[in-house]
Amino acid sequence: MRREIPGCSSERVNGAPPDTEPSSLALLALSGLLLLALSGLPPLIARTRRAPRAPDAPPARGPLLGTLTLAAGAALLLTATTLALVTGDPASLSFAWALPFGRFAVAIDPVSALFLYPIALMPVLAVIYGHGYWDAHADSADRAKVRLFIGLLAASLALLVMARDAILFLIAWEGMALASFFLITTDDRDPAARAAGWTYLVATHVGTLALFALFAILAAESGDTALSAATLAHLTPSTTTALYTLGLLGFGLKAGLMPLHVWLPPAHAAAPSHVSALLSGVVTKAGIYGLLRLLLVLPPPPAAIGQALLLLGAVSAILGLVLALGQRDLKRVLAYSTVENIGVMALGLGLALAGKAHGAPDLVALGFGGMAFHILAHALTKTALFFGAGAVHHALGHRDLDRMGGLQRHLPRTARLVLVATLSAAALPPLAAFASELLIYLGAFRAVAGSGALASLAAPVLALTGALALATFVRTFAFTFLGTPREPHAAPHDPPRTMLAPMAFLAALILVLGLFPQLVVPLLDAVTAELAQALGVAPLPLATLVPFDLMSILSASLLLLVSLAVLLLWRRLARAPTVVTWDCGYAAPTARMQYSATSFGASLVDLFAGLVRPRVRKPRSEGLVTRLVPDPVLAFVLRTSGRLDAASARLRTLTRPRPGRLQLQILYILLAVIALFLALGLGLGGSA
């Protein structure tokens, strides 16, 4: 039943749902959200009356207060989320607001909860890391700015995943986009950062346009802006397909699905490391969240959407890594690997939709479950890796893999923590990302038995992805931490404890989730059940499909035996006499003779040379051979926009008024009108 609410909804065309009794959990979550949003203020205010600080002074009070506010907000949000999950209380809150459209409607369901955990946790870790990061180099103006926008970003992300109204969703989406823009351009004195910021702003607004179209059609079809399945059940298949396609464009741009990823690598490279961690670990996931929300509110998509996701996922996963192998900048490598991981999530999503198309509930469970687990695993892994990249940058002052090496000696603790994250990023057992990819693999193998053989091609795609990820992460780890320094540097050292502690926390979580995936299985089951029900498929608990307990025992014994073997051998080897490395009998090897990261990546990149076109510059006589792997999609966009520019310049000559050619111009107008009528006629005929 709907009724008019006197006073506040008189201008509404449609009857609005009544203001519900506010759930106390929703109030708890919203107060947490408010604290997140406000957490940037104390550092900002404290800055204005700042006295010159002694180098050994206690940490500045403003940032510390801000961190505590953020942590308190995150704690409230996490408590509300967990309670909502455990009690099954939807934590919904809905009231009319002063805007002419929409309502303020929020709720927490399992899909929201899946995203709320990283959204609440990662910003806290990032600002703790930021304490060490900023104390080390930059000035406090940047610091206060980053704090303000991290708080706003966290709050808008939390609002985004809780929003149950299209207008509120778009407001949160735009808040997230703008906060990210200011975070990417933190160092706005750097032209590269400004360029990355503008690229991002254009990309995100192209996506927002698609979302405007999406939600406008939604509102027109349902007569309401509420994001609920009840009002949208009557949509025709063609409308549904159009809406999913718009969603794929809008949300795919944010997630960084190839070929919509062009904004992602420059933005991740330009931002400070802990901001890159947030962008990669949390913000790109908002795109995946958007797709999941569409699945929950729209009728089930046609099979073609699932196939498109499988294809886009395969392209992103494979080409993302090929491009990662071609980069010299450590953070660009990590950024391209994010494209790969988004691809893996799209593969999981595609598998689940293939399961829906073929009526296979096991595929639906493994696809959604694997994707959901991979969202968590990737958030942990990539955040830890970006933190590690920040520590390396902090130690050396650059991020060029070809100039690094041997850092393990100087940054032993960073090296160990980064190794855990690196192994997880290469999806190796017994770490978190292996456990999540295992679910998707199992889904692909189960697809082969049914009629969805096409979807089972995800397995060889994952195998190639896994092997390329192995090469990518052997490369990033070994060329940073192993061997000898390729360039002399002044004794670099481990970063301060505030930077190491968040990394240690993440590494521990990566290990725990890898060894005991059972800990998150209830959450994954809840997410899977919600999504499966939306698709009209019977939900299947993951524990019936995967032998988690046996895997835990095996993983733990693998970890134990491997550590024992390494320890025993190293105890003997550490005492062994040392000699120079055998280099084909060459008696005086120098550090410059080591294999370079560029050459290391080249042998794999060249396998895909037809797709990515590496550019090699060989000087005639003396000098360095340089080898770059430009982004093929970006190159295409630039080339096409150049051509469009030239073409539009040519078209402009047609419209320029010239004496004696008026008839011709009238002819053009006539032709255009005829064409328009024809198009309209065809369009009307088609829909009638």
Binding site: P429, A467, A565
Partner: protein, 303 residues
């Protein structure tokens, strides 16, 4: 399977891993020597080498860290785990569960991570080159392996090596089986660094792949590397042997399996005697061919 059968199987498995694995490189070398008209080393040369290396002292490069010792140590442990997942001998493997084939592939990858990292830890240009080649070839070989496993899994409707290898047999799907076996043979040659992908007898660092990555290991560490390589050869050969043999049901299956393994080793020796290694730039095409073979096997199986 009864308890006594299980114990018997585990004992036989332990003996196979300990003694038959080092025998395979011995058989290869013996066949090659025989064809070249030499007498060659004894069949148990590797056993003797391992015993000798175990007693020796080690030296290490001054650039290395603990990661260098992780190369041999992790590879050995992961290959042993893999050997417990692949059914060597009759009956299900000691570790058989839903999805074990994925763990199998990723255990080999974990070993590869540390072998290549250890190579890069020495800071040698040649070892870096070898690591890059190894990872490149492995990327393509892994696709061939996965397509083959997918075909077998489609046939058997199972995701455990212990069930799908015996079920995938010549009687019910001849063509896919032949294609997948051929692809697996190429994977075996690649993973165990054999001609035509890699030449274990070359003395030129510039042309080595696997050999060059372990140049700096000595003494017991080198012993672990050599034994680990032999073990990997055994595991992959067992994978192929199970495809070629009819399902082994009784413990007498060992009597059929062991000669098959030795026969496969002899075949590798024969191949190494009559072919030269491919040019490095042609190896990827060879591996893509393997991926296509098992890919077609997969297509035939599902259509």
């Amino acid at each position: 399977m009864s308890l006594t059968d299980r114990l018997l199987q585990l004992t036989l498995l332990a003996l196979t891993l300990a003694f038959v694995a080092p025998l395979l490189p011995g058989v290869i070398a013996k066949v090659k020597a025989a064809i070249a008209g030499r007498r060659g080393p004894t069949l148990v040369q590797l056993h003797r080498d391992l015993a000798k290396l175990w007693k020796k002292d080690m030296v290490r490069s001054e650039t290395t860290s603990w990661v260098f010792s992780a190369g041999p140590a992790v590879t050995l442990v992961t290959t042993l785990f893999a050997a417990l997942i692949v059914p060597i001998g009759p009956g299900p493997a000691p570790l058989a569960f839903e999805g074990d084939l994925i763990l199998f592939v990723y255990l080999l990858a974990l070993g590869r991570f540390f072998t290549t990292s250890a190579a890069l830890d020495t800071g040698s240009a040649f070892e870096g080159m070898g690591a890059a080649r190894d990872l490149t070839f492995a990327a393509l070989a892994e696709v061939a392996l996965l397509f083959g496993l997918l075909a077998a899994s489609a046939h058997a409707g199972s995701r455990s090596l212990s069930t799908l290898l015996p079920t995938f047999d010549a009687a019910t799907s001849t063509a896919p089986l032949l294609l997948v076996s051929a692809a697996f043979a190429i994977v075996l040659l690649t993973e165990s660094a054999r001609v035509p992908v890699d030449d274990p007898n070359t003395h030129l660092e510039l042309t080595m792949v696997h050999e060059v990555m372990v140049l700096d290991h000595s003494g017991p560490a080198l012993g672990l590397v050599l034994y680990g390589a032999a073990l990997k050869l055994l595991v992959l050969a067992a994978l192929i042997a199970h495809l070629l043999l009819p399902p082994l049901t009784s413990q007498l299956g060992w009597l059929a399996l062991l000669p098959t393994l030795l026969g496969l080793a002899a075949l590798i020796g024969l191949l190494e005697s009559v072919t030269a290694r491919l040019r490095l730039s042609h190896v990827p095409a060879f591996l893509v061919a393997a991926a296509l073979l098992s890919g077609f096997g997969f297509l035939l199986e599902v259509t």
